[in-house]
């Protein structure tokens, strides 16, 4: 139960892009085509799924206050948490390098299509943000940390997929010239973020009326943006809502 709740919360309610603006740089830079967006999204899920549990272990057994107790009683008072930034980023950089080597070895075609974006994952704030949130929210077990990593990755993946689909279509519409490209992408992301805010009541045990309202909101969003992709996403969200109602 705990796992399901954390999963849906990380994918929809605390979505990396729409609720915290993490990984916006690559989100904006790589979302011009759906195919590259899918590649990067998958890589982000993978790296998050590795680094969050690893950093959880680091945090539990090295960095937290009293984490060094396993070394002996005299180390019980040590608090190394000020080192967490440097430890986390080192783990992430190493893992990204490792992933790069593995992908290059086993799937050169994927490696070539991802190109420069693979090393750039190291400086994607969503990755470091995942680890820092894991630390500040005090996630309790390794399993939950793994779940959190995968779920936030999926949330990021959904976001970049949706915006890439919208951007592919919006090329054919008559946007005011100064707003073309970056400007309209910002505004659409803002609108999508408003849509995602309606997931907020999903897990807080909100009243039934509140869920009804939020459902209307999401449907309203679709009619304005009008892309196959967002419709798919709302389908998904409705499904998850039913899922949580069953709970």
């Amino acid at each position: 139960m705990e796992h399901i709740e954390l999963f849906f919360k990380s994918v929809f309610v605390d979505n990396m892009v729409f609720a915290y603006f993490l990984g916006m740089c690559s989100y904006l830079a790589v979302s011009k085509k759906v195919s590259t967006a899918v590649g990067l999204g998958a890589a982000v899920i993978f790296v998050l799924a590795i680094t969050v549990p690893l950093n959880w272990l680091l945090d539990q057994y090295l960095l937290q206050e009293g984490a060094l107790t396993w070394l002996g009683e005299e180390y019980a008072d040590y608090d190394l948490s000020f080192l967490s930034f440097i430890m986390f980023i080192a783990t992430i950089a190493t893992m990204v390098q490792l992933v790069e080597i593995i992908v290059e070895k086993f799937s050169p075609s994927l490696y070539n299509s991802l190109g420069i974006f693979l090393p750039l994952i190291a400086v994607n704030c969503a990755i470091l943000g995942g680890s820092l949130f894991m630390q500040s929210r005090e996630i309790e077990t390794l399993g939950l940390a793994l779940n959190y990593g995968i779920a936030s990755g999926i949330g990021w993946f959904l976001a970049i997929l949706a915006i890439a689909a919208i951007r592919e279509k919006i090329r054919y519409s008559n946007v005011p010239a100064p707003l073309r490209g970056l400007g309209i992408t910002f505004i659409i992301t803002g609108l999508m973020a408003i849509g995602f805010m309606s997931f907020g009541g999903m897990l807080t045990g909100g009243e039934d009326e509140a869920t009804e309202e939020s459902r209307e909101d999401t449907v309203g969003m679709v009619s304005t943006t009008d892309t196959a992709n967002t419709i798919k996403e709302t389908d998904l969200s409705l499904e998850t809502k039913e899922g949580t109602n069953k709970q």
Binding site: C25, F82, I89, A122, L182
Partner: protein
Amino acid sequence: MGLLSKKDSKLIMDPLADNNPITIQVLGICSALAITAQLKPSIVMAISVMFVMGVGNVVISLMRNIIPSKIRIIVQLIVVATLVIIVDQVLKAFAYTLSKELSVFIGLIITNCIIMGRFEAFALANGTWRSFLDGIGNALGYGVILIIVGFFRELLGSGTLFGFKVLGDPVEKTGLYAIGYENNGFMVLPPMALIVVGIIIWVQRSRNKDLIED
């Protein structure tokens, strides 16, 4: 400016408008949006980034001839992470509530693409003084956007600036509230940050047609 040559002052002035890191180079947006609901954290963030960028650019440009190009990303990350730890510890010591408010976003300066972007694009190829100016200039350009967004969001969202009630008191109905003005609670929520930045981009590109994308 006697101190700066024309070329040097260009390094400072360019990022403020026509080569702004946020609206033109599209770097460092993550943190720019998340902490701008109020003016005070926006300014603290801008100053922190200015410190990290200024010092970081100097350090990298001093080391640029001895960093092997294969491991330069890790070296850069370590330099940034060290500087960010300093900022974080200073904030925790002198402004604890503020550092709680900024939560993970101080840590996320490490992965702020502005910093890596300027290291890669400038500090690795230029001398120390010029790199320092470039760092300060880009941090100023970043700070300007942060402050504009923070200003509008705090003013329209909660009717205050730096926590002072500039539009009157919403409870006692003084000032603007006396004639029926209401706070726009939407401005405080995250999505409006994106839309405000979108509008800034719109205004900037309507004024300078060269910047329009096709």
